[in-house]
């Protein structure tokens, strides 16, 4: 029984099978990301009323908040798939982890820059040591650490396992880091800074925000599939299925 399930998992997690399947999935994710994203942008830019305090500048949150959510989500995906790769030695999981890192890092970067662009009119300066921005910066460093370790180790297998372990250690640390940064922030700044995600948010603002978050997520799924396909091609470059595929092109 257990053996049968194992065989089944191995079959469906083989890079070759994944490569064939993913080709069919990507368009769905990409198209729905595009539709939902455009609709979300339309609602966010045209329909949502201006904020009574921040005027029009608050419209940055339709990018900033989903990007911040995604940067954390992608890190979780990365750590979980790295864990699967290490424990059960499923190569596809390692590939997903490696493919996620650059996307997650760009979300973290986007959240950082939009956060400071939003902050300039609000705080009068581009950078304030706000808890959210500081945590985001640290998260970006965690991504950089992962990618640096991944590229520093020659042997692919060791590189995957080593950087995967780092991602897991990072996940254990993220709540602690987050908590200490929040705590540190309340000490030094008090609660004067208006938070983005206050629960009293107007429904016309909340809907575009959630739509944008969904669009980002679908975009991530599409892109992680594309990148994982690349990883599969590259890592299996000496195997028959890749050779046949390439000669057939």
């Amino acid at each position: 029984m257990f053996k049968a399930i194992w065989r089944w998992i191995q079959r469906f997690s083989s890079p070759k099978y994944f490569y064939e399947m993913s080709a069919r999935l990507i368009p769905w994710f990409a198209v729905s990301a595009l539709i939902i994203g455009v609709y979300g942008l339309y609602l966010g830019l045209f329909k949502a009323p201006p904020d009574y305090q921040q005027g029009e500048s608050y419209r940055i949150i339709f990018i900033h908040v989903p990007a911040a959510w995604m940067s954390l989500f992608v890190y979780m995906v990365m750590a979980i798939s790295a864990g699967i790769g290490i424990i059960w030695q499923i190569r596809l999981a390692d590939m997903v982890a490696a493919a996620s890192a650059p996307i997650g890092a760009s979300f973290a970067f986007l959240a950082l820059v939009t956060g400071s662009l939003w902050g300039k009119p609000m705080w009068g300066t581009y950078w304030v040591w706000d808890a959210r921005l500081t945590s985001e910066l640290i998260l970006l460093f965690l991504y950089f650490g992962y990618m640096a370790l991944q590229s520093a180790i020659e042997d692919q297998r060791s590189a995957d396992r080593a950087s995967g372990l780092l991602a897991i250690v990072g996940v254990v640390n993220i709540p602690i880091i987050h908590y200490s940064v929040e705590w540190w922030n309340t000490l030094h700044q008090g609660a004067t800074v208006a938070k983005f995600d206050k629960p009293s948010m107007h429904i016309d603002m909340l809907i575009p925000l959630l739509l944008m978050a969904l669009a980002f997520k679908l975009f991530y799924f599409a892109m992680v599939l594309v990148r994982t396909r690349n990883e599969a091609l590259y890592r299996d470059r000496n195997r028959r299925w890749v050779r046949e595929l390439i000669t057939g092109l």
Binding site: F141, A148, L149, R157, V169, V172, N173, I177, S180, V181
Partner: protein
């Protein structure tokens, strides 16, 4: 198992005392860096007190970071690390022995010299005591987390910058709470919360970091 722990700890301590000139390096670095700040910023008591907790803690962090290499580098280069991994004793225990030795050789000296630096930085007496406690709880965490980082990078050529990129973000909670405890103590406020947090982080690191280090070492050995 306890014997293996004890013998490995003793071996590392003996090795360190055989090359005494290296022994003092992190300590000298620590004092030197702290000394730079009054020169660069301002030697008035007020300015010193404002920056003292942060300066001392950041310097301690960097001193530990620089010394992390000696945790596994030499053993890796001469092959002893392989023998440790082939020991019938659990690798976690051996890792713990090595980390303990590292703490005795870097963390503990930093804790002991800290009162002197408190004096340099014009810290009031009560906060010097808190500084010692916070370092006492915090430096073992630095060694424990650092061990994970070194074991991942020990096989990488020129892994020094990589090590700091990996390890420093993970040090942030300890830095925040350690420095804040000293800061708060200067105002005569209670610091139990901060010290409890550091103790909790230490307990967590003590239970998880050796495991992660053992896994990381096996990954590194599987070249």
């Amino acid at each position: 198992m306890l014997k293996a722990y004890y013998y490995l700890l003793m071996r590392d301590l003996r090795l360190a005392f055989r090359s005494r000139h290296e022994l003092a390096n992190p300590l000298i670095f620590f004092v030197l860096v702290v000394t730079l700040f009054p020169l660069a910023v301002s030697p008035t008591t007020e300015a010193l007190r404002t920056m003292a907790p942060g300066v001392i803690w950041v310097s301690a962090l960097l001193a530990v970071l620089l010394s992390l290499d000696r945790l596994f580098k030499q053993d890796f280069e001469d092959g002893s690390l392989d023998q440790l991994m082939l020991s019938p004793n659990p690798l976690v225990v051996l890792v713990l022995a090595k980390v303990t030795a590292h703490w005795f050789l870097t963390g503990l000296p930093l804790v002991l010299i800290a009162p002197l630096l408190g004096l340099f930085m014009a810290l009031p007496d009560e906060s010097v005591e808190v500084l010692v406690y916070s370092l006492l709880l915090g430096t073992p965490v630095l060694s424990l987390i650092g061990a994970i980082g070194v074991s991942l990078t020990v096989a990488v050529n020129r892994g020094g910058v990589l090590l700091s990129l990996i390890v420093l973000p993970l040090y942030i909670p300890v830095l925040i709470f350690g420095a804040n405890a000293v800061d708060v103590a200067m105002d005569g406020l209670p610091v139990r919360g901060q010290l409890f947090f550091l103790a909790a982080v230490l307990a967590l690191a003590l239970s998880l970091a050796p495991l992660a280090t053992a896994v990381a070492l096996r990954i590194t050995a599987s070249r």
